[in-house]
Symmetry: C2
Subunit: 250 residues, 2 copies
């Protein structure tokens, strides 16, 4: 049985158009490689009520919830407080986190100010997620991983929690792309192939900027069935006069 | 009063890591330019129950809901059916949509197959959104705009609904970036500037790949106040020995 996961990306800048979120896409690939199904994503502003409501919806429904953003030292970093409020626990200055912040900044000859120590505040009962990039740790509490929004730090924190994620059966995927073949030409064949083969999902994706081409992706826990499906798709493409470009399965 | 909006991006490929969503970011900028506040985003798989539940949560809460994805001709395109089910209305073959599909394909000497006519199915009572790129229209019903997932078509459909969106006061933003200045050095000053100026929001964003630099963004409906805030931020940066790079307000 695959574990399920959700991501809650937090930040006004993601919704104003200033910043294009990168963490959802990265996490999606990372979880897929580990056989965990990313099943939902939400983006909310730096608003405690909205963060709390989304978190409570996601944490009860999925095995893992990852948040990104809002754990820095400035006034707009409210994620820790919002999450603690949603869980009904206090925020404390975590001694271990404070030691990590002191060690990081102290070791670089930088003052450990109250603003920096703000990054040592965690919900009571939380464990820490190591941050090798910039010192201030992330937080794990219950099934929630509270991580930084800066992509390089988000990715480093994912490495740090590798051991906490239970791997499942990996979904294999392989793809065939046909140029100059609109997806509607293949619709009937795809439906038939999907119906004939159990345990495979076919996705059909028009090529952006060239709506007369299409990529078909076959996904299955069984690599042989994914191969069988994509070979049937490729044959259907050839029967329509196209020469499919095959993508290695992974 | 600004109108609010949400986007519901639909597609297994967005959650598997195969495709990086581009429509949320584009829509965010497009709405910001028109003084509409994108307030929430969700991504769900091609699953009718999940689409319906998310849609019903968003459409009652925000003035506008935009969906992207799942309106093509193939078996995995279930968005129209899921939305109709969520609204409790029937799906019909829309005569006007069928005429558009026939005109587009017929005009190119391509057969109008049942699969292509699948793209003419709409919830009963829907209006159409013109698709100048590939013929098959989007759908507007109540406060919901059902649009294509392919970014070029999504963007063309946004142009087509320009007149249906009520513009509000635009939030102006301007920014100052300091290299080699960690955001925690500025935390107290930002808090003070934010407290002293009404009607402005300051956001603090570490620079990715260089966590010792930071961009501060001031947002306000009042351009003069945004300017005043960012000038105060720039002065605080200079007082710490940094030379801010200013970004033109928009």
């Amino acid at each position: 049985m695959q574990k399920t996961a959700a991501i809650l990306a937090i930040g006004d800048e993601l919704l104003s158009g200033r910043t294009r979120d990168a963490n959802m896409h990265y996490l999606a690939g990372w979880l897929t490689e580990r056989g965990v199904a990313l099943t939902e994503a939400r983006v909310v502003p730096d608003d405690a009520a909205m963060i709390g409501e989304a978190l409570n919806a996601l944490r009860t429904r999925y095995d893992y919830v990852f948040t990104s953003g809002g754990i820095g030292p400035t006034h707009d970093d409210i994620t820790v407080d919002a999450i603690a409020a949603a869980l009904g626990v206090k925020v404390i200055e975590n001694p271990q986190a404070a030691a990590m912040v002191r060690a990081y900044y102290g070791g670089r000859g930088i003052d450990v100010t109250p603003a920096r120590l703000r990054m040592a505040r965690t919900p009571e009962g939380a464990e820490l997620i190591n941050n090798p990039v910039s010192g201030a740790p992330g937080v794990r509490i219950e099934n929630i991983f509270v991580m930084a929004g800066v992509p390089r730090i988000f990715q480093a924190m994912l490495n740090a929690i590798e051991g906490a994620i239970e791997h499942g059966e990996v979904i294999h995927s392989c793809a065939a792309t046909a140029r100059n073949l609109p997806e509607s030409m293949l619709a009937d064949q795809l439906r038939d192939i999907q119906a004939a083969l159990k345990g495979v999902t076919l996705g059909s994706y028009p090529i952006d900027g060239d709506e007369m081409g299409v990529t078909i992706v076959a996904r299955s826990q069984n690599m042989a069935i994914a191969d069988q499906a994509i070979n049937a798709v490729a044959a259907a493409m050839r029967a329509l006069g196209a020469e499919p470009e095959m993508e290695d399965r992974k």
